[in-house]
Amino acid sequence: MTDRALEGVRILDFTWVVAGPFATRMLADLGAEVIKVQSAATSRGADSNGAAAFSTFNRNKYGIVLNMRQPKAVELARRLAALSDVVVDNFSARVMKNWGMDYESLKAVKPDIICVSMSGPGHSGPWRDYVSYGPTLQALSGMTYLMGFPGRAPQGFGYSYADHAGGVTGAIAVLAALEHRANTGEGQWVDLGQLEAMTALIGPAFLDYAVNGTVPQPKGNLLQSRPCGPYGAYRCKDDESGRLPAVDRWIAIGVTNDDEWRAFVKAIGSPAWTQDARFATQEGRYKHAEELDRLVETWTRDKEPYEAMEALTRAGVPAGVVQNAYDLVHNDPQLKHLDFWWVAERTNMAPNHFDAYPARLSETPATLWGPAPWLGEHNEKVFGELLGLSAEEIKRLQEEEVIW
C-alpha cells in the first residue's frame, strides 16, 4: 500500500451527472475519502448506479442514501458534514440552502468546513437561475461560436467539455481551500460558476478584444492569431475493414515554424508544389491555407494514418492520427505504456473499465481501490462506523424512508 496524497481528507459529495462527480473522482483517485450521497428518489437514468456514465465517474467512492426531503435525513447529513473536511455539490443555487446544507448553515456544526458549490452560472447574478448543461455553457462561453469552419454553422464540441473543465476546476477549488485552511485554520465557501471556469480557458481572445477590438471568427483548425501551416486535419486512406462506423481516417499535422516546414517538405518527398513562393513563409502558408490543405491531402489521402504519422514524426514534424475509441484502447502504444485503462471488478456486473488518472505522482500515485458503489452500498459502514448508529437504528431509518 503506497501513501496517498489526500489521505485523511473526507469529502461529503452531493454531486450528480458529470461535472461534480468528475471533480470528486479525481480527489478520490488521489486518496480522499469521498462519501457520495444519493437517494432512491433521484438516482435515475444516467444517474442510476449501473449506468455507464455513473460507473465511470464514481469509482473509488463510498455510496450512501439519504432522502433529503425528510428532516431526519438532513440531520444525519449535517452530522456527517460535521465529520467532513469538504462538502461539494453541483446543484442549482437554491437546493443546498433549502436543505440547510449551505455554508452558512454548516459552519454552525463545523466551523472550518469547506463548501464548494459547482453550479452552471454561479450562485449570484441575474442569470443565477438559468437552466444550463455543458452545451449551454459552451455556447455562452464563446467556445461553440469559434469552433467551426468559415461560412458554416458553428459546430462546437460533440460532448460536454464544460463538464470536464468545470470538474477539474472544482477539484482545484477544493485543494486551494484546503491549502488556505492548512495555512490559517479557516474554512470557506467557494462559489464556482462553470460558465466562468469555461470562459477562463480562452483568455487571449478576450485580451485581443479588450485591447485591439479584435472580434475573432471561426477558422476551422487554424490557430486564431498565430500564422503557421499546414495546421489541420488531413484525410488519409479510407478504412475498409468495416470495423468503424465511418470509413474516413484523418491525421492532424501541426507545422508551427519554418524548420518543421522544411522537415515536412522533405518527409513527403519534396513535391514541386512545396516550392510555390506562396508557401515559403508562415504567413504565406496561413494565408493560403485552403490551397495548401488541398495539396497536403494529395500526399496523405493514400497513406494509412499510422504510416503517415510515422513518416512525419520521424522527420520531426508534429503529427498524430485522429484516434477513435478503438485506437485509444488497442492501437496507442503510449497509453498502453501508461496503463491508461483501469479495470475494476464489480458485483452483479461485468468488470468496469475506465480512463486512469492521467498523471504519475512518484510518491503518492493515484490508485484504483474500488468500482462505483451500488445505491446505498456503504450505508452500514458510514452510518454505523462513522456516526455510530446501531444496525437496528439503520434498519428503522430505512423503513421510514430516511436512509432511502
Binding site: A5, L6, M26, L27, S55, G122, P126, W127, Y133, P135, T136, L137, Q138, A139, Y145, L146, F149, G158, S160, A165, I172, A177, L178, H180, N183, T184, D191, E196, T199, L201, I202, F206, A210, V211, N212, P218, N221, L223, Q224, S225, G232, A233, P245, A246, G316, P318, G320, Q323, N324, A325, L328, V329, Q334, H337, H353, D355, P358, L361, S362, E363
Partner: protein, 404 residues
C-alpha cells in the same frame, strides 16, 4: 486579502504547454518566479500583440498566462547560471517545467538532481506524452494531442474535417491536472515533509476528458464519431435563428418545449413523440430521429430573433443558450455582475487593461490577478540580490556574460 497559496514559492520553467498551470498557482496567491531567457523569446513572441506592436513585453498571449508572476532572467543552459538557479531551488516548494522529456536532466537539473538538494521539492513536468514510453520523444503540439487523445474524432461535422477545440485546450487540460496533482502533493508534503515528481501526460489528460468516448466503447461496444453540433446524448444541437445561432435542447422539458412550438404553429409532426425515444435500441436510428427533430426545431427557430428565442427558452426552463462570440461574452451581464472581468493597471503603458479573471469565487482567499504580468527580467535584481543575497558585482558579471 491574500490568496489561498500564500507562502508557496514556485519556479516556473514552462512554455505554452504548461504555462496555464503556473498562472493558476500565481493567481491563487503563490509566489511564482518565472525563469526566462535573457533575450525573452518563447511565448513572449506569441501573437496577438498590444496594438499589433511585436515586443517581448507586448504579447497579449504572454500577458494572459503570466498574471501575478515575477520574472527573473537566467540562462539555465550556461554553467555560470547554475549557482543562482540552485539557490532558487533551495528556497522553492514547487518547480513546474514543460520541456521535452530529458532536457532538464541533460542540464543536470532533472528531478533526481534537484531532489538531492531539496528533498521537499515538488517537481511537476508537463509534456505531450509523459516522461517515458514509445511516443515520449515524438514531436507534438495542441492539434496533434487533440487528435491522438481522441477529442477531434468526436468534434465537427461528418462532411468536414475533425475539429480541434478552440484556444489550444489540450494545454489547459494538462495544466489543470498539473495544478490538481501539485496541490495534492503539497498536502502529502505537509504530512511527510517529502516532495515528489509529477509526470503529466497531455495525451492521457485529453483521453480522459472526452466524456462518452470511453464508456460508449467499454459498455456498448460503440465507437463514437463526430456528428456535427448534435451532442452525443442526442439532447442538444445548434440551430440557426433569424440573426444568429442558439444552442437548444431537444429533450429536456420536452412537453413544454413542444407546447411552445405548437403555439407558434410548428412541430405538429412531433406531437405524441416521447422526449427521448429510448425504445429504439439502435443509436444510429435514434440519431436520425434526433436530426429530424432538430431540423423541425430549426424551421421554427428561423422565425425568431436569437436573443428573444434564447431568453424565452430560459423563461420556460429550457436549457437554451445563445451561441456568443467573445465581444458578447465580454459584456455578458452574468459575468459582469459577478466580477469575472477585472481591470489591471499597466503603468508602463499608462493604461488599464480588462482581463478575464477567476474561474471560481473563493470567499476567504480570493483567486485574483495580484499583479500585472511582469516585464522581461523585471524582478531579476529584486530576487537575485534582494532575496538570494548575490552581490552587485556578481550580478554585473552575470549580465556581462549574458547569463541574466
Amino acid at each position: 486579502m491574500p490568496g489561498a497559496l500564500q507562502g508557496l514559492r514556485v519556479l516556473d520553467l514552462t512554455n505554452e504547454r504548461g504555462v496555464y498551470c503556473t498562472k493558476v498557482l500565481a493567481d491563487l496567491g503563490a509566489d511564482v518566479i518565472r525563469i526566462e531567457h535573457p533575450k525573452g523569446g518563447g511565448i513572449r513572441d506569441f501573437p496577438p500583440y498590444y496594438h499589433g506592436e511585436r515586443d517581448a513585453n507586448r504579447s497579449l498571449y504572454f500577458w494572459h498566462y503570466n498574471t501575478s508572476k515575477r520574472s527573473v532572467t537566467l540562462d539555465i543552459t550556461k554553467p555560470r547560471a547554475r549557482e543562482a538557479f540552485l539557490k532558487l531551488v533551495d528556497g522553492a516548494d514547487v518547480l513546474v517545467e514543460s520541456f521535452d522529456p530529458g532536457y532538464m536532466a541533460s542540464l543536470g537539473l532533472g528531478y533526481a538532481d534537484l531532489a538531492l538538494r531539496n528533498p521537499k521539492l515538488i517537481y511537476t513536468s508537463i509534456t505531450p506524452f509523459g516522461q517515458d514510453g514509445p511516443l515520449a520523444k515524438n514531436p507534438a503540439n495542441d492539434i496533434v494531442l487533440c487528435a491522438l487523445g481522441g477529442m477531434m474524432n468526436v468534434n465537427g461535422d461528418p462532411d468536414l474535417p475533425p475539429l480541434a477545440a478552440f484556444g489550444e485546450q489540450s494545454y489547459h487540460v494538462a495544466s489543470n491536472y498539473g495544478v490538481v496533482s501539485t496541490l495534492a502533493a503539497n498536502q502529502y508534503r505537509r504530512r511527510s515533509g517529502r516532495g515528489q515528481h509529477i509526470d503529466v501526460s497531455t495525451e492521457a489528460c485529453i483521453a480522459g476528458f472526452i466524456e462518452h468516448v470511453g464508456y460508449f466503447y467499454w459498455y456498448n461496444d460503440m465507437i463514437a464519431m463526430r456528428q456535427g453540433s448534435l451532442h452525443w446524448s442526442l439532447a442538444f444541437a445548434v440551430v440557426r435563428c433569424k440573426d444568429g445561432y442558439s444552442m437548444v435542447s431537444i429533450a429536456h422539458n420536452w412537453e413544454d418545449h413542444l407546447a411552445w412550438m405548437l403555439s407558434d404553429g410548428f412541430g405538429e409532426e412531433l406531437a405524441g413523440q416521447p422526449a427521448r425515444p429510448t425504445q429504439i435500441p439502435d443509436y444510429a436510428t435514434r440519431r436520425a430521429n434526433a436530426q429530424r427533430r432538430t431540423a423541425i426545431v430549426e424551421q421554427w427557430a428561423a422565425t425568431k430573433s436569437v436573443d428573444d428565442f434564447a431568453r424565452e427558452g430560459q423563461e420556460r426552463r429550457l436549457p437554451f443558450g445563445k451561441v456568443l462570440n467573445v465581444d458578447e461574452v465580454f459584456v455578458n451581464p452574468q459575468l459582469r455582475t459577478r466580477g469575472f472581468f477585472v481591470d489591471v493597471q499597466h503603468p508602463e503603458l499608462g493604461e488599464t487593461v480588462t482581463y478575464p479573471g477567476a474561474p471560481f469565487v473563493m470567499h476567504a482567499s480570493p483567486y485574483a490577478i495580484h499583479r500585472r504580468p511582469p516585464l522581461l527580467g523585471e524582478h531579476t535584481h529584486e530576487v537575485l540580490a534582494g532575496e538570494l543575497g548575490m552581490s552587485e558585482a556578481e550580478l554585473a558579471q552575470l549580465e556581462q556574460e549574458d547569463v541574466i
